[in-house]
Symmetry: C2
Subunit: 197 residues, 2 copies
């Protein structure tokens, strides 16, 4: 008799939480089972590929969350600079609330498992693509041409992802706010007309 | 009889290599001993605090390497933009050489152990401070005032650290080059005189 699918999502959510806090290597299957409240059998049922296949699902889920956040913020803001600052404020608040344990939900797993694990690579690439696509659209709306918008979207993604690491080490959201505010300022300066040189 | 200090450095170097490739959690003391070629006893001799104390030494060593690289590049380049592009080229080359396994020598350890481990936090903060100090000096030399130079140095550090993660996942140095080139372009634009608005 097939099990009801009700335990799949709790297992993935527990994995995202534990991987982002302690890393993939330090998280045991028993930790995931305990945190999720799912019966142990359901873990093997949904993830017959074991821990590596849970890592893929966790990266996919983390990617979906970032995309959902960015889509909401993109709709609520009038420029990429505003979007970045709003995102940095949100991340700072979440980080502070977790005692600076909840950093980027996918960075640690990506660093522990790529480039060796092809499936995790693939999930990571898709997550980056989706994230960069939203920022690219917003940068086009700001007035940047297609090629530059894509490049700036990649830079903005890297800057916030990097700042999350420093925020965790320093136990403050400041690096996030600085990165977003300085990018916002420079993006605005890039769009303003220049004096003839 | 005290052991000669000859095995300390190989143990730290092995740890930096293994932590950056596989993460702290997945690296066993036996892996470190084997990679370093040091006798097992020397590991306990130099690091009586065990694996966590090796993590601190590895983050300190990683910090020293980044600082040495940045100091060399700062002396060889005439602007922060040039420095960032030279650094990105160097990192891309190193990454490609290792099959994209050797990312940032401290990010993975920082994410796995902070903010819980105070000693690793402290080593991480010092490494960030030293790195940001060099970029701040270079940005001042470009013509930015002190406050803005410090903030931009933090942004540039975050952007390259974040781009290293994407480079690893995508198995290409492109995200690094894009981040450095776009920062370089925007820094230059920030310094140019503007048309009266």
């Amino acid at each position: 008799m097939p099990r009801p699918p009700k335990h799949r999502k709790p297992i993935i959510d527990a994995s995202v939480t534990l991987f982002r806090r302690h890393g993939y290597g330090a998280t045991g299957l028993n930790d995931i089972v305990e945190w999720s409240g799912a019966p142990k059998g359901s873990l093997y049922h949904y993830f017959p590929g074991g821990k590596p296949s849970i890592a893929v699902a966790a990266v996919e889920e983390a990617g979906r969350r970032v995309v959902a956040t960015l889509e909401t913020l993109a709709a609520e803001t009038t420029s990429t600079g505003e979007l970045l600052c709003a995102h940095a404020r949100l991340l700072s608040r979440w980080m502070a609330k977790s005692g600076f344990r909840d950093g980027c939900p996918m960075t640690t797993v990506l660093l522990e498992l790529t480039p060796a694990d092809r499936s995790v690579n693939e999930a990571g690439r898709s997550a980056y693509d989706a994230r960069i696509r939203i920022l690219t659209q917003k940068l086009r709306a700001d007035g940047f041409d297609d090629a530059r918008a894509t490049r700036l979207a990649s830079l903005c993604t890297a800057a916030l992802q990097g700042a999350l690491i420093e925020a965790r080490v320093r136990r403050t959201g400041k690096p996030l706010m600085i990165a977003a505010e300085e990018l916002s300022r420079m993006l605005e300066e890039s769009l303003r007309p220049r004096a003839p040189s």
